[in-house]
Symmetry: C2
């Protein structure tokens, strides 16, 4: 364990920063004061000092200050003050702007602004970056992506929650799910309401937190006194309240508003002799999709997730016409209907003739994001369309799909890693379909190796079990089931399939689809692409969750089906096996 | 390989047996002639000679001849003629009578008649018994059961087929299924239409024949000449036509009507130097139920079988009243309805208050046997009722069930073995239900050991996966599925369950039952006790068979469901997950 430093603002005010004056301009004008504060924190026990660059982007920096040089100079001050006694964290605060469609800034403009700041921090000698006091998931994402595009410094990200939720509606679990998908090195929370209030936030993260975490609370709740905000938590009490974080396995502790070197001195005594190890999360490296408001974990051991398939122009005349005209009302209707039927994720495909997917897919995704809370699945064979949609999506969407087609993993694997986007891996190598389970598993293994070589983490990979129609390949359902089982038992990988293909060319397809769903779930099928408007399918799903002990007290099943009535009686036309009728010697 | 002998009748006629005179009386009066014939066959190469006792039961033997002494004396003649040059097979032909309800003889009377004959054969020094030229499955069964009740001689059983079916409607596969359940040592076919016609009969047996087999054809097709039946196939051609039997893996060859020592001499040269080994049947030791007309194989790798549950008075007022009055019309109606819905096996339970199961169960079984071709499941906790029903059933019924209750396996295990009746093994040891899969598997292992120790063959054992209701034991469905999978993968044992218990106490039970059926089938559930009148269940069954590649070209599914129509549209009252509604951070 180690200590970050504490607040900068309070100390600057004590040394001449006027109310209304920007700390950035003051710091640049008074590097000795800033250096002094860094040294005080180091003397108090901080192993990391944070640069005076909280507002150091184009969007916030005083006119006349150049972003790169400002950040470089402030970092150099910290670097020199720290010497080899402490690390320097290049500080990145929020821009105060929101990405579209929440605000009017393009995601890419935000990324570029952060990139300029980070270039300065990096050139000034920062040892790591700390993206902190963040309150919007899209902005966190932009800052992390910017960092990766500029340098290879470790990245810490810290979000601020009020009453367990960030300003734009993200909860701690969804925050860490998204950040872990992005592969950040340190995850934390800061500011808000002092150590005690922050404890619940950390607890909410723990179920899936497999990344070292830190906390930087304020010195208690902010209070207003003579028009000024003050923080009254004294250093000893602050240190006392830090103890539970140590017990939960925090990797680092620091302070935010109102904290002083004395707070850090007292706090760091708390964990002076604590041997640190990352606690084992109950669910390690589970695949998770996120929107701003939701996490949807997809795992062979969790409820099977419905990916609504209907926003896809194939075979839909009106949707096709609308998409060609750049209109979305039909797509919105499909979104609404599918969610009402119980879809957990919505597939979004705009692949119609005479459509520019590179602009239409991000436009529709952007429009859906403000109407729908469920995570989206970006479905396109066009890599540029995927990239453009990844830019506008404020979380971890699902990318559908990466096949074994030459060059596809090289192009899209690193892209998904960069954007922290899980993807569907389709075990297709060329024109020849792998039919047997062992053929499919061999293709999957080779794609997994390819992903490993590209540094794409397994947590982003969901395997498509490749449903082939049983009417032409009778053993193909069994092959699928074996692939699903193998992925669960041998690799702990989530699996998905497009359900309806199984029954192509046969009557009563819904019966086959529904039975195949139950079979798949028995073997660990984690998600399936289907039309949630099929009652039969949703009945099968809901009853299977009871049987797989994933619907406690059958609460959801009872809520959905308490009024359900069977349709009784034998079907007409069945053969009679009574004596007298010609019966076979052997019942098949 | 070895040779049996050939015909006795033709040779006796050549030495003085008059038309109309009984070969038994003639033989008893002329032991030297009989001994001569035995010696001629031995000299011709026969390693087994057959006693002159074909009609040696009470039902056929001339008045004045005492059964035990007649059989003893004729066997002694053969024994002495054979010396240590050949084995003596005590011959048992059909009685000419039919058991109830086909005829008017009680099964037990038939057994007792055979027992008297066999006592004589055994006392006379027979090395084995050969029950031959049989044409009714119930009578074969009676003879084998009689043999086991009298002695421990090896038993060979041979049935005669015309156009591939025995006189009372049994086909070769069902014959050998039943005989293998009874554990006979040698299985064959004899008489009928010469070697060429007999080949198809042997081929029909091969898929499941795991017992050494033999064939004793006539010397060609019988022809009528001057009012006498003659057989024209010469010894050399006979021997030529024997070759395919050798190629198929026959253990022994002999001759029936019209064959002579010369036929045997020629035939035995064919396999003089053939090294014999039992061919591996495609399906080894699969559990099979039989009626006179049908085999129903129950295996984790075959279609899952429906055991119709409705003939059970529990909760059925009218059925209860009828059974108490000894009337069966309601039971017949349930039988008919369930078969029309697709049941493969019918459970028969008469356990109502004020009913003597020991007489009522065999009465109902006997009445059903002449109305229904499907195998029956004898369902009673009363061991005497089971025993009585086993007597009247003309094949291999299913016994439901043998639990781990103290003494139950000791009482019923050997009974089932004796009658060749497969049984359901219920993993219940005492009052405490084994809930987890490993608890259940431990009980199953201990019951299997108990069965092994009693010499009960595994081929008779079907494991009940013990369905407990998920509303009180949420993990119990998963435990069942694990038991089913383990039985399939580790023990190759068939599994069964009473389906509907899974959903007790919940609404929309059919949905849960149907999904559980599909889950079970995915893991190898081989049969299930249920009401086949449930459309949902039968739809799940039929569609699952397509998916498990057990309904070639989906023929049965298409036949049953080509006209099926889905019921569309979302259910009312589902929550909307659109933005604005309160959505959870984490979708379960
Ligand atoms: Zn703060
Ligand atoms: Zn014959
Ligand atoms: Zn004969």
């Amino acid at each position: 364990m180690f200590a970050f430093d504490g607040g900068m603002g309070t100390l600057l005010q004590a040394r001449g920063l006027k109310p209304g004056q920007s700390p950035e301009a003051f710091g640049l004008a008074n590097p000795d004061i800033v250096a002094d504060i860094h040294r005080e924190y180091i003397n108090a026990g901080a192993r990391v000092v944070t640069t005076n660059t909280f507002g150091g982007t184009d969007f916030k920096l005083d006119a006349g200050l150049e972003v790169v040089s400002f950040n470089r100079e402030m970092t150099a001050v910290a670097r020199q003050a720290a010497g080899d006694r402490a690390f320097v964290a290049g500080d990145i605060g929020p821009t105060g702007k929101f990405c579209r469609p929440l605000g009017d800034v393009d995601f890419r403009d935000l990324v570029e602004a952060f990139k300029r700041q980070i270039r300065g921090l990096s050139e000034g000698g920062a040892d790591l970056l700390i993206i902190e006091t963040q309150f919007d998931l899209a902005e966190c994402r932009a800052a992390v992506i910017a960092a990766r595009e500029v340098c290879d410094l470790p990245v810490a990200v810290s979000m601020t929650f009020e009453d367990g939720v960030s300003l734009t509606g993200t909860r701690p679990l969804t925050f860490i799910d998204t950040m872990q998908n992005l592969g950040v090195e340190l995850i934390g929370t800061n500011c808000s309401a002092g150590p005690e209030g922050m404890l619940e936030v950390v607890r909410a993260m723990l179920p899936r937190l497999s990344t070292p975490f830190f906390a930087q609370p304020n010195a208690g709740l902010p209070e207003l006194e003579d028009g000024r905000t003050v923080f009254r938590l004294d250093p000893e009490t602050f240190a006392e309240q830090i103890k539970p974080f140590v017990a939960l396995g925090a990797k680092a502790i620091g302070g935010c508003c109102g904290t002083t070197p004395e707070h850090i001195r007292c706090a760091s005594k708390v964990f002076e002799d604590v041997a640190w190890s990352l606690p084992e999360p109950p669910e390690r490296d589970c695949l998770v999709l996120t929107s701003r408001a939701q996490s949807v974990a997809v795992s062979p051991h969790r409820r099977s997730k419905v990916i609504g398939e209907r926003i896809n122009p194939t075979g839909k005349k009106q949707l096709t016409a609308e998409l060609q005209a750049g209109q979305f009302s039909e797509a919105f209707r499909f979104a609404k209907e599918q969610l009402a039927c119980g879809a957990h994720i919505l597939d979004v495909n705009v692949g119609a003739p005479m459509v520019r997917e590179e602009t239409l897919l991000p436009d529709l995704v952007s429009a859906l994001v403000s109407r729908v809370q469920a995570p989206l699945c970006l479905d396109s064979t066009n890599a540029d369309a995927i990239r453009a949609a990844l830019d506008v999506y404020p979380g971890s969407p699902l990318v559908n799909s990466i096949s074994g087609e030459p060059g596809r993993m090289q192009a899209l694997g690193p892209l998904c890693k960069h954007y922290g986007a899980p993807f569907i891996m389709l075990p297709l190598l060329g024109r020849k379909l792998p039919v047997t389970a062992s053929d499919r598993l061999a293709v999957i293994e080779s794609l997994l190796r390819e992903a490993d070589d590209l540094g794409v983490p397994r947590r982003l990979i969901m395997v498509d079990a490749l449903v082939l129609t049983v009417s032409s390949k009778p053993e193909s359902a069994k092959a699928c089931l074996e692939v699903i089982r193998h992925c669960r038992d041998e690799w702990n990988l989530a699996t998905v399939c497009g359900l309806s293909n199984i029954s192509f060319g046969l009557p009563a397809r819904e019966l086959l689809n529904a039975s195949f769903l139950v079979m798949g779930m028995t073997q660990g099928l984690s998600a399936f692409i289907a039309n949630p408007g099929s009652n039969r399918l949703m009945e099968s799903l809901s009853s299977s969750e009871v049987l797989l002990a994933r619907d406690p007290q059958a609460r959801d099943f009872v809520a959905g089906y308490a009024e359900w009535k069977p349709t009784g009686g034998p079907l007409p036309g069945r053969d009679s096996h009574l004596a007298g009728a010609a019966a076979p010697v052997e019942t098949p």
